[in-house]
Amino acid sequence: MIGERTRIALLLAPALAVILVLFGGGLYAALLQSLGYFPAIGMTEPGLDAYRAVLTSPDFLNSLALTVYVAGASTAISTVLAVLLALALRRAPGRISTALFQLPVTVPHLVAAVGVALVVTQTGLGARIAAALGLIGEPADFPALLYDRYSAGIILTYVWKETPFIALIVLAALRGVASELEEVAQTLGANAWQRFWYVIFPAIYPAVVAASLVVFAFTFGAFEIPFLLGQDYPTMLPVTAYREYRSIDLSARPAAMAINVILALLTALFAAAYLRLSRELRRG
């Protein structure tokens, strides 16, 4: 008989090995390279030059601002829509509707991006409907929503993908709200808005925040959609890091890695916040 502690350690070992070696090791290597320790191209003097350069460069700051804006806007819009959707759905839980609205969660982001692009491009479905309604004459009359400075295409794609995701989590939390409590509130004279604000919202609040955090962290660090639908300058942080990484000039690598490390640190903070919240969620 092996002891319980040994047993737990053995059970956890494979998963922890994968994460510590392939993920932790990768981040460690990124850290070393960001510090300028890069023996392969003769850089063996570690230092903070890359960070100094990155943090003072307007390119990085523009990129960071854009990233915060896109992630923030996508998360905020998705969250509000998701709560509304969940409230509407909880009384109409058909199998088909449930299936349909889970679809965006499973469809790959790339497919979503291509689909949204075909709707919002100036010759896309949206423009065609606008033309059919006589709102526009030429494709050019339709607002440019792709590769634009407001990142409308990126945000729309994220909203399409993430709203159902948040809604599912909120829906699960809504099941915990006893409908009796709502009825009690109603007999005490609470109107629909008051019932939402004083009875429902406090119960689903941790779930809403936890789900939003996941979406924020994800949109903050995801690459594909901004790479495909984003403007040329500034780009979101992951795209900036990738471009630096792919640069022919190998000395740009420490900068790419510095961006990676900053990205990892920020998202790790979100992860810590998420974990705290989900613990409260379990307790609540």
Binding site: L89, T98, H109
Partner: protein, 271 residues
């Protein structure tokens, strides 16, 4: 009550329209012949997109096969690795449990892009870059956390009583696991596997970084088509690329408990 149901119905209909809006042009374009602005529907239909994908010289078949092989291998490995971890986290309390959960959650929230760029050099040195095996390895980073976390919640709902009953009936620890635990957690394992498959199947940037253009997968074809100008080819590829997601959803609805959508998707997200 009536008013409530009606507003719920309207919201639902609206949600259905919004969900299908971006998928509709994909389906239409993939079979479109001529479709000029401002026509609402294609003027003619054709199989040009599908023929192009299957034409000699197209790398479509190779890409689909690569995607399938990698996703299948990743699914198997992620389940086998995630199952014991989920068992440990779901059925035991121990010091450092919070830390372990944090470590396992990290790759879900911290973009694996960062760590993969970091590990690329090491992979080159080890000869893992530009190989299917290398791609398989980096795909484990975003998948293992999901299988582990999903299976943790599956095991957390188990009390161990059925296993105790089995033990008193003469089953050894392994027999109890094989004959009682495993059949009981099978639906959860299936969900975890579906997740791992979809995540690996959808993976673009990790494959590009480590596969280096040698390992061609479906999203890479889609990406280059999407950067081009032919919506027919792009849409056809997108339809194929979206297929497993649709199949997975149908499977989940068919075989998993209704009302259990939290178990299916509530825990995670697919990129």
């Amino acid at each position: 009550m009536d008013k409530r149901n009606r507003s719920a119905g309207i919201a639902l209909a609206l949600a259905a329209v919004l969900v299908t809006t971006p998928l509709l042009p994909l389906a239409l374009w993939s079979f479109a012949g001529e479709w000029r602005f401002p026509d609402l529907l294609p003027a003619s239909w054709s199989l040009r997109g599908w023929e192009a994908l299957l034409a000699p010289g197209s790398r479509f078949t190779e890409a689909v096969l690569n995607s399938l092989v990698i996703a299948a291998a990743v699914t198997a490995a992620a389940v086998v690795i995630g199952l014991p971890a989920g068992m440990a986290l779901g059925t035991h309390d121990f010091r450092l449990k919070g830390v372990v959960i944090f470590i396992i959650l990290l790759p879900i929230l911290v973009p694996p892009l960062a760590s993969t760029m970091g590990i690329h050099l090491t992979f080159i040195r080890l000869g893992l870059a530009d190989t299917m095996f290398g791609v398989f390895l980096v795909h484990l980073v975003p998948t293992v956390p999901y299988t582990a976390i999903i299976l943790t919640s599956v095991f957390a709902e188990r009390t161990g009583e059925l296993e105790e009953a089995a033990r008193t009936l003469g089953a050894g620890p392994w027999q109890a696991f094989w004959h009682v635990t495993l059949p009981q957690v099978a639906p959860g394992v299936a969900v975890a596997g579906l997740f791992a498959f979809l995540i690996s199947w959808s993976q673009y940037i990790l494959t590009v970084l480590i596969g280096g253009g040698t390992v061609i997968t479906l999203p890479m074809l889609l990406f280059s088509a999407a950067s081009g100008t032919d919506p027919v080819i792009t849409s056809t590829l997108a339809v194929v690329f979206a297929l497993p997601a649709v199949v997975a959803l149908l499977l989940a609805l068919r075989y998993l408990n209704p009302g259990n959508e939290r178990g299916f998707l509530g825990v995670g997200k697919v990129s």
